[in-house]
Amino acid sequence: MPASVHSEEAHENDQSMMDAEMEEPVNPILLDEKRVIILPGSTDTAASFQFEGEGHTLGNALRYTIMKNPAVEFCGYTIPHPSDAKMHVRIQTDNTTTALEALEKGFDDLMDLCDVVTEKFTVARDQYKDDAAYAMEG
């Protein structure tokens, strides 16, 4: 064993901590202080949220699902400064809901969308594999 690396046994305390984290693999750049805050000047139906460590990947996809909500009057996202890893989402809703609820619904819809994509992708891939195997035999 290389001298610079020691085995697990010496670290039993750390291990219990690690196990808790292991439940779900965490993105290292998001590992520290993953926080969301509401920016000052918000009301129930109009608020800006700041997500730390996020970018266009989540920002644009989230904007899309939130805009799909008919109770939302406006939704946009921005990265105010490229060297600050911060993403802002602005949501304005009518009075049937709140900005926070609209944001939650946005996350829910995006997760549902991901499930559908996974399901259909898997089916199409397995079908393609079967067809290819069949073509090989035939």
Binding site: M1, V5, E8, E24, N60, M111, V116
Partner: protein, 375 residues
């Protein structure tokens, strides 16, 4: 009042992004509530389920091509970005140089080593944790440091010697000397602790391509170093990216609006890649149809669109006088043709599924984070 349902033709029209000689039209998506008076467009999972389609074109372990149809660009791009930058793989991060008398400097050698794609048992990779680097500002407890669950150790020890059996007039250094070339296959993996359970046999940590040239040596020169590989993501450094390329393009659409016949048809076909435009004789039926433009041209060759998939949308056909107003180019807004080329750690189709999983996980985590705001 029930929402208006736009006609199929109207929906089809909205799906096409117009590509003209100098402009691109109809770019943004308009399928949002409030954009078209009276129409709904609100998020409907069932509707999405019915419309969304996946078609595979190719599925090799290290390269896959498939179409996702019925998605918005915002989501399609999120998947692509996650593929490139947010799926973790293993790469060499720390190099401890015990000896390096080769002409290649330590830091250059270390940088080259870092870029070598590695592979190993997927189960093992998933079992591994992130390696926490000691932070620059010294607050909080020190991270645990390298251990079997966050660091994989590899060794590279080669020495170049003369080959006494080489022919007198030999000029090839590879025959003249032993170890004149150092390849990725010369790296050896040393399992530590529980790594033995995961990274054994085929699943051992090894370079994807054994023939990557790392350095060249001459007799008496020596490289002896230890490498620590950690899990990381492409956003941190490109060496961690699991894909060589992950791209998408929109499905091209070519519409021939007025007949293109004879010599023009041949020239038209030449404006496109092979197989995109075909030539067919004008049938008697075509010629009989009033207003089709084919009247009296029975038997002549006409241009038809065979397979727009392979088109590059070069717009070459728009440069020629004779095709003015006869052809319309476009792309289908919600038909994304992905091409995913894996570096070797994961299979390409698995990578895409992984990307979808990462996006979903992100949402779940942030949603949980919102609970603090509610309080």
């Amino acid at each position: 009042m029930a929402p208006l349902i736009p006609s199929q033709e109207e929906l089809q029209r909205r799906r096409i992004i117009g590509i003209n000689a100098e402009t691109v039209t109809n770019i943004p998506s308009t399928d949002f509530p409030g954009h078209w008076p009276g129409e709904s467009h609100s998020w409907a999972l069932d509707q999405f389920k019915d419309n969304f389609k996946v078609e595979f074109h190719r599925n090799d372990p290290y390269e896959a091509s498939f179409s996702l149809i019925g998605l918005d660009a915002a989501v399609a791009n999120a998947f692509r970005r996650i593929l490139v930058a947010e799926i973790p793989t293993l790469a060499i991060e720390y190099v401890f140089v015990q000896n390096n008398t080769s002409v290649i400097q330590d830091e250059v050698l270390a940088s080259r080593l870092g870029l070598i794609p590695l592979k190993g048992s997927v189960e093992g990779i998933n079992w591994m944790h992130w390696y926490r680097k000691p932070s620059e500002d010294d607050d909080g407890p020190a991270p645990p440091g390298p251990s079997d669950f966050n660091t994989v150790v590899m060794q590279l020890a080669v020495e170049c010697t003369k080959n006494p059996d080489a022919a007198q007039d030999e000029t090839d250094p590879r025959k003249l000397y032993h170890n004149a070339h150092v390849y990725a296959k010369d790296m050896t993996f040393t399992p530590v602790g529980r790594q033995e359970q995961f990274f054994t046999g085929e699943g051992a940590i090894q370079p994807v391509n054994p023939d990557i040239l790392i350095a060249k040596l001459r007799p008496g020169q020596k490289i002896d170093l230890e490498m620590h590989c950690i899990k990381g993501i492409g956003a941190d450094h490109a060496k961690f990216s699991p894909v060589a390329t992950a791209t998408y393009r929109l499905m091209p659409q070519i519409t021939i609006e007025r007949p293109i016949l004879g010599e023009d048809a041949k020239k038209f076909a030449k404006c496109f890649p092979k197989g995109v435009i075909g030539l067919e004789p004008v049938t008697a039926e075509d010629a009989k149809r009033q207003g089709s433009g084919y009247e009296g041209h029975a038997g002549e060759m006409k241009a038809v669109v065979r397979d727009a998939f392979n088109d590059t949308v070069s717009r070459e056909c728009l440069r020629h006088e004779e095709f003015q107003g006869k052809v319309k180019l476009g792309r289908i807004r919600d038909h994304f043709i992905y091409n995913v080329e894996s570096t070797g750690q994961f299979e390409s189709d698995v990578l895409f599924l992984e990307a979808v999983k990462v996006l979903k996980l992100k949402c779940a985590r942030w949603k949980r984070g919102l609970e603090d705001l509610m309080a």
